[in-house]
């Protein structure tokens, strides 16, 4: 509660200056224009039975706040620099920690070749790098099968560099590519750390590297973008582990983690149709030092699959309606009919643009299943001590501002 209030106040403050200016905030330094932009959102969730996303949603919860502010400028015609701070609080995740969301230099030599270096948002699928920016999306919650809030830190950014560009094929559209490598930032307040506590693993943090690529073709078919992304993000972590009936002992988790996404998007006039298909394969080994000379090793492998199909239509300048259906299977090869082996979500949304800088979303979720404890997709054992029910209906209301 305390961190929710702190986060709400902080995000209100970071929006205050541009809001007073009634627009983005520009100023000039040494003849160069510097722009300041900000965004914030506040959400409310209410679910019928299961508590969701570490929030007390069965009683109704406002513990869903985020916001950010960025500053950027062009130092030369080809070189830009900028940084964005971000603060979020979702249930017990985030805890109002202000983090450096991105900060990098961007040298664009040609339209077909540029370099970014610093902390860079990772291009993966349709919306990985923009998932935090509510004003860009119809939905109060993006499909969690592809963009799980609790596992945001595992893919959101990397500290390293990108090469990128767009190659124009004229009547055949254009091809955009991004290739990147770096280290993945740690998130001690994310769903990964929280969820594994229920399984007896108390992590000191999660580190590792991240490397991958994205390739997308725009307008080979008019108004259609299709593409594929790949990411290799091995993990290393230490902590205290407990495998009953053994006592708590120091341990490590090492994992190879591969993500692949295929996607297509059609945007024409007022209509948007999106679809994505994701695969995540993890091969991990947990090692626990029971005694200095005795190490217990426990492998865990997963072959998870997530997908969604979404349609949104802007009825008028102020109103957009949409629906999506998402599917998540934590282990594709298991019996997928059990509640513990799938999460499906049917969603209907109304987005109202109250002003150019202010939106309100009202969204209904009709979920079936809750995945297994290692899924770390919204349903946590410690938040549902009486056990998880097979179906969850949930109302999400979220309002956001951007300047």
């Amino acid at each position: 509660m305390h961190s929710t209030i702190k986060t709400t106040l902080l995000t209100a403050l970071v929006c205050a200056a541009p809001a007073v200016m009634h627009a983005q905030f520009d100023f000039t330094v040494d003849g160069r224009q510097v722009q300041v932009h900000s965004f914030a959102s506040q959400g409310f969730m209410y679910s019928n039975d299961n508590n969701y996303m570490t929030m007390n949603t069965s009683q109704g919860s406002f513990a869903m706040t985020d916001g950010g502010v960025n500053v950027s400028t062009s130092l030369t015609d080809k070189f830009r620099v900028g940084a964005q701070a971000y603060d979020h609080n979702v249930g017990v995740m985030g805890k109002g920690r202000i983090t450096l969301d991105w900060a990098y230099g961007d040298y664009k030599l040609k339209s077909w070749f540029g370099i970014r270096a610093g902390k860079v948002k990772t291009v993966f699928g349709l919306y990985n790098d923009t998932q935090d920016i509510g004003s860009l999306h119809t939905w109060a919650l993006l499909p969690q099968s592809a963009y799980p809030i609790d596992l945001r830190a595992s893919t959101i950014a990397h500290v390293g560099g990108d090469i990128y560009g767009t190659i124009d094929f004229h009547k055949l559209g254009d091809l955009s590519y991004t290739v990147y490598a770096g280290s993945r930032p740690d998130d001690p307040t994310g769903g990964y750390t929280y969820g594994l506590k229920a399984l007896g693993a108390y992590l000191n943090g999660v580190t590792g590297t991240q490397a991958g690529a994205d390739l997308r073709w725009n307008n080979l078919i008019k108004d259609v973008t299709f593409g594929a992304s790949f990411m290799d993000s091995p993990m290393d972590t230490t902590g205290t582990m407990q495998m009953s009936p053994l006592p708590k002992s120091p341990g490590t988790i090492q994992a190879d983690d591969y993500h692949t996404a295929y996607y297509v998007s059609y945007k024409s006039g007022s209509l948007t149709v999106d679809a994505e298909y994701r695969i995540e394969k993890i091969w991990s080994t947990m090692k626990i030092s029971i005694m200095p000379t005795m190490v217990v090793s426990s492998p865990y492998n997963t072959d998870a699959c997530g997908s969604y199909g979404a349609v949104a239509y802007r009825i008028s300048k102020r109103l957009e309606l949409g629906t999506y259906r998402s599917w998540f299977y934590p282990t594709w090869t298991e019996n997928r009919s059990l509640p513990s082996s799938h999460i499906t979500d049917q969603v209907v949304t109304a987005r109202v643009d109250l002003a150019k800088f202010w939106d309100l979303k009202i969204e209904g979720h009709f979920m079936d299943g809750y995945g297994n404890p290692q899924s770390l997709r919204g349903f946590y054992l410690q938040d549902n001590p009486d056990g998880l029910k097979p179906k969850t209906n949930m109302l999400v209301i979220r309002t956001g501002w951007n300047f």
């Binding site: 965004f39 900028g82 990098y104 961007d106 948002k121 790098d129 920016i133 004003s135 767009t166 300048k317």
Partner: protein, 141 residues
């Protein structure tokens, strides 16, 4: 049957005339520092979607847009292929991931002409009947 065919031809001709008129209602203008006398439709789209920062002749360009109105909507529809709402969303996705800055947005054709005239590399658009002293008009091929 013949009468119906004549009606269809007349309707199609009218539609073509209207769309040509709409395209003619928008002029693309640039600062005198921009060397090119013309710009391809692909280049123009790339400039206004921030995927290109220079024209084929090497001139560095920076887009200037109108805040709204019929000329703005006509330009976006004809040359960028987006509605005003989609254009705003597109630029917000770039701004909040650090990939671009918001283009300068001005309230009127006169403001656009004045800004383009004094700003090196500026490229913008105004309605067809706007006086354009001090700037060059680019032909869109």
């Amino acid at each position: 049957m013949k009468y119906r065919q004549l009606l269809c031809v007349a309707a199609a001709t009218s539609l073509l005339a209207v769309s040509s008129a709409m395209a003619a209602d928008v002029k693309v203008i640039a600062n005198s520092s921009v060397g090119a006398a013309s710009v391809s439709a692909d280049e123009l789209k790339g400039v206004f979607l921030a995927t290109k920062t220079s024209l084929s002749d090497g001139s560095h360009v920076e887009p200037v847009v109108l805040k709204g109105g019929a000329t703005h909507e006509a330009f976006l529809k004809e040359y960028v292929g987006k509605t005003d709402s989609a254009f705003e969303t597109y630029y917000r996705s770039l701004v909040f991931t650090g990939k671009a800055s918001m283009p300068k947005a001005l309230a009127s054709d006169g403001d656009v002409v004045a800004y383009v005239a004094k700003t090196k590399g500026a490229i913008g658009y105004v309605s067809g009947g706007t006086a354009t002293e001090g700037v060059k008009t680019l032909e869109v091929k």
